[in-house]
């Protein structure tokens, strides 16, 4: 059984609709630790030692956040800047995270049609996520396909309920090591893995 660390970043949680429901869905699952970054570090003063320790204790890291300006809310960038230190996460002697896996979990207002060459965002989600992917790679970690919620403003309650259930299923399956490397390679989104 794998241990999962969910790093959740949402600066206005009280206004959140989709993410609030998603995160509460996976609350309390065994072997899953959730860190509310904005709640933990309201003044951005990240405890680097503590965060590194947590990374060591888990096998799968989830970056869960709304998609802001094609990227993450600023505290996750701060976290990456400070926690993924040279000679800890990367560099010649930086092997602490080697072999762990990383997945992005993202919510976005734009529908999937928007994230295409012909759409108004011109690029796909996976293309936008390249910096995260490469960050993981430099730290010798496997970057898994992202779990993406599109068109959050138009989601109906029934649709959101399905997505919540999918998310929970995904986390449990990751924990129980149900997917193979092939499964990941063949999927564009982690959503497809669950729906299979």
């Amino acid at each position: 059984m794998k241990k999962i660390l969910v790093l959740f970043a949402h600066p206005a949680f009280h206004k959140s609709k989709t993410n609030k429901q998603l995160i509460s869905e996976i609350e309390g699952i065994e072997h899953v630790t959730i860190k509310y970054l904005y709640e933990e570090y309201p003044n951005f003063h990240i405890d680097v030692q503590l965060e590194q320790q947590l990374l060591l204790e888990h096998d799968i890291i989830i970056w869960h956040h709304p998609f802001y300006w094609y990227s993450a809310p600023s505290i996750l960038k701060e976290w990456i800047d400070l926690v993924l230190q040279h000679n800890f996460a990367y560099g010649k002697e930086g092997n602490a995270l080697k072999g762990k896996a990383v997945m992005s979990v993202i919510t976005t207002g734009g529908r999937i049609e928007a994230y295409m060459e012909q759409g108004y965002n011109c690029y796909s989600i996976s293309q936008f996520l390249r910096p995260f992917e490469q960050t993981a790679r430099l730290c010798k970690m496997n970057y898994l396909p992202p779990f993406v919620v599109h068109g959050t403003h138009l989601l109906k309650e029934t649709e959101l309920n399905e997505i919540k259930a999918d998310y929970k299923k995904l986390i449990v399956a990751l924990r129980n090591e149900l997917y193979t490397v092939d499964d990941f390679q063949q999927s564009n989104y982690a959503n497809d893995l669950v729906r299979k």
Partner: protein, 638 residues
């Protein structure tokens, strides 16, 4: 009965109360029953320490009821009272009417004349404000719907006494004037001599005066009084006001309890309300206690021994009839089942007004001495049995409704005072208060500077005058139901004392406190508060940030350094606390404290510089690695 002096009497009453009430409380019987038992014990039928003067004392002590209604009025905003009007007149009116009619019917069946029957009915329809409200308040039941309904009925009964007193003489064979009635319905003859419309005019003008004074003048008066800084002046003024109103109401023939209740309601919005509550409360409590003792002492056990069957049967009828009528009405008025039972048990007795009405009726030759004495013992016994009935309800009846009760408690709590209390509103408290207000939270503020109060009220703060470290003031400010207490006073001892008191007495209230220095912070740490902040630490560091900036540090660097330092400081303090904060023996003399504190802080500072732990955006090691790799590459290519 031999004559006793005032002090001898006082000693007997106080001793009885001091012995009986704690025992009754410990046994879970409530203070009312304790007082009543004390009265029975010192009364003529057990120890005989007090005799006939008991009834005089009872009339004097009825003033406790007057003060109680004043205090209840203080808790009741006019808008809340207005929203209760249907219950007061609908529920209260029907209760008095139906109960009176049923008792009158029983009276006729027992071959009393119809006049006597009507008088008995009206007399027994009323319940005991003193016993009921005191018992419910003690159990914390006044805020829920049964409590509110009970209060509405009692309020209507208070109003109803006036027309009942007017009707009784009309029923009597020989009509006497009402000057001979004693107790709190004492009429001055000059008012009685006026025409009806003149009396009405007088009543309206007195009530108008009370409202006008309460709304516009009292605030200024109290500000002046508070400015003198003498607490006893506050007490004197409050008593003067209550007694004055009671007298004025008496003169125009209204119930003094009603008058002071009205005054209380008018003052409910007043910023000195909590202080008023705090100073009048002890007088009310003592007078009510005295009243209950007197009721206990007045029970005529002689009659009970002579005709036990009759008395017990009649007592049963009295309680069952009142209970049934109340239960029926509470169904019609939509109380929930558990609350119906509480309401019906609470009001099933006859009340102190009955003593007055019985005396009045016998003076008017309406009642024979036999009827009077039987009624008197019925009333007294029914009052004495009420705390027992409530106990029965609580332990046997309520468990049946427990689940239904729980559902409704949640929304009822909100009616209480604002849930954040700030104690102390000087330089420190004011900043917290502004910050909370800016976030839409209206704290209740306690401060003892009368100058502040006026200004702050203008800006939407709920400010009350008084020494925040006094427990009675805290209690009347609603500490019991508060979510959070912020202690912002600048007195070290008082802060610790207050925090300790609240943590022990109200463990559900979260407490944040301002610490004067490190030692004080440790002292507070021992109390396991939710949060402690050193009073000048944060502002000193902020000024330090500006200092660094003036020394050409980049602004972000200075700012980040401050955050790192604060984090580091919390760690150090925790370490020091674990090291020697818990050990009280190491608390040393005041004079040496600061020095030692400084030494400790500086030496821990020495051991770990904040910059050792901060590698943020540090590319030193990366640069070294790249350079060494590059060197290897060049050496290989060479």
């Amino acid at each position: 009965m031999h004559e006793t002096t005032f002090f001898e009497q006082a000693i007997i009453f106080l001793l009885a109360a001091v012995v009986a009430v704690p025992i009754a409380k410990r046994l879970g019987l409530g203070s009312v029953l304790g007082y009543l038992l004390a009265g029975i014990v010192i009364g003529p039928f057990v120890l005989g320490w007090i005799g006939d003067e008991g009834s005089d004392i009872m009339h004097f002590a009825e003033f406790g009821v007057v003060m109680m209604l004043f205090l209840i009025g203080l808790e009741l905003k006019p808008s809340l009272l207005w929203s209760m009007r249907q219950r007061i007149f609908g529920l209260g009116g029907m209760q008095v009417m139906i109960t009176a009619v049923v008792f009158a019917g029983i009276g006729i069946a027992l071959s009393l004349s119809w006049q006597q029957s009507v008088a008995v009915g009206l007399t027994l329809a009323l319940s005991s404000t003193a016993i009921v409200l005191q018992s419910l308040a003690e159990k914390g039941e006044l805020q829920n719907s049964a409590g509110q309904a009970t209060f509405s009925v009692l309020l209507f009964q208070d109003i109803a006494v006036i027309p009942i007193l007017a009707v009784l003489p009309l029923l009597a064979p020989d009509i006497l004037t009402i000057d001979h009635a004693h107790g709190d319905v004492h009429h001055e003859s000059w008012v009685a001599g006026l025409h009806g419309w003149q009396q009405l005019l007088l009543i309206i003008s007195i009530v108008g005066t009370i409202i006008f004074i309460g709304r516009f003048l009292v605030r200024h008066l109290f500000r002046i009084i508070a400015g003198t800084g003498m607490r006893e002046m506050f007490t004197a003024t409050s008593l003067l006001m209550v007694i004055g109103i009671a007298l004025a109401m008496n003169m125009v023939g209204l119930s003094p309890a009603l008058g002071t209740f009205l005054a209380g309601v008018v003052l409910a919005d007043n910023e000195y309300r909590h202080e008023l509550e705090a100073v009048t409360e002890p007088f009310k409590a003592l007078l009510l206690g005295l009243f209950f003792i007197a009721v206990g002492a007045s029970i005529n056990f002689q009659l009970l021994i002579e005709k036990p069957g009759l008395i017990v049967a009649l007592l049963g009828v009295l309680l069952v009839v009142k209970f049934s009528v109340l239960l029926g009405l509470s169904r019609i008025f939509g109380l929930r089942s558990g609350q119906q039972m509480l309401f019906s048990f609470a009001l099933a007795q006859a009340g102190e007004f009955a003593f007055v009405l019985i005396a009045f009726s016998s003076q008017n030759s309406l009642f024979t001495p036999e009827i009077s004495s039987i009624l008197l013992i019925l009333v007294a016994l029914s009052m004495a049995i009420t705390p027992l009935l409530l106990l029965l309800n609580e332990s046997l009846v309520q468990p049946l409704f427990r689940d239904k009760l729980n559902e409704q408690t949640a929304d009822e709590i909100e009616e209480k005072d604002s849930s954040v209390i700030i104690a102390g509103f000087g330089r420190f408290g004011i900043s917290i208060g502004r910050f909370l207000l800016a976030n839409g939270i209206q704290p209740t503020v306690l401060d003892n500077d009368p100058g502040n109060i006026q200004t702050l009220r203008k800006f939407g703060f709920k400010v009350y005058y008084g020494d925040a470290s006094r427990s009675d003031l805290l209690e009347s400010a609603g500490i019991e139901n508060a979510r959070l207490l912020i202690i912002a006073i600048d007195d070290r001892e008082k802060t610790t004392e207050l925090a300790k008191f609240v943590k022990e007495t109200f463990p559900n209230v979260k407490v944040l406190a301002r610490a004067v220095n490190l030692r004080h912070a440790f002292e507070l740490c021992n109390l396991e508060l939710e949060g402690i902040r050193m009073e000048v630490f944060d502002s000193a560091i902020e000024l330090g940030v500006q200092a660094l900036q003036l020394l050409d540090f980049q602004k972000y660097r200075a700012n980040r350094s401050a955050r790192t330092f604060k984090f580091h400081n919390d760690t150090i303090i925790e370490e020091l606390y674990n090291l020697w904060g818990k050990d009280k023996k190491k608390y040393i003399q005041e004079a040496r404290r600061f020095k030692e504190e400084l030494e400790q802080l500086l030496s821990s500072e020495d051991q770990s510089s904040i910059h050792d732990s901060d590698h943020a955006w540090d590319t030193q090691s990366l640069a070294e690695e790249i350079i060494s790799t590059a060197q290897k590459e060049t050496s290989q290519t060479d």
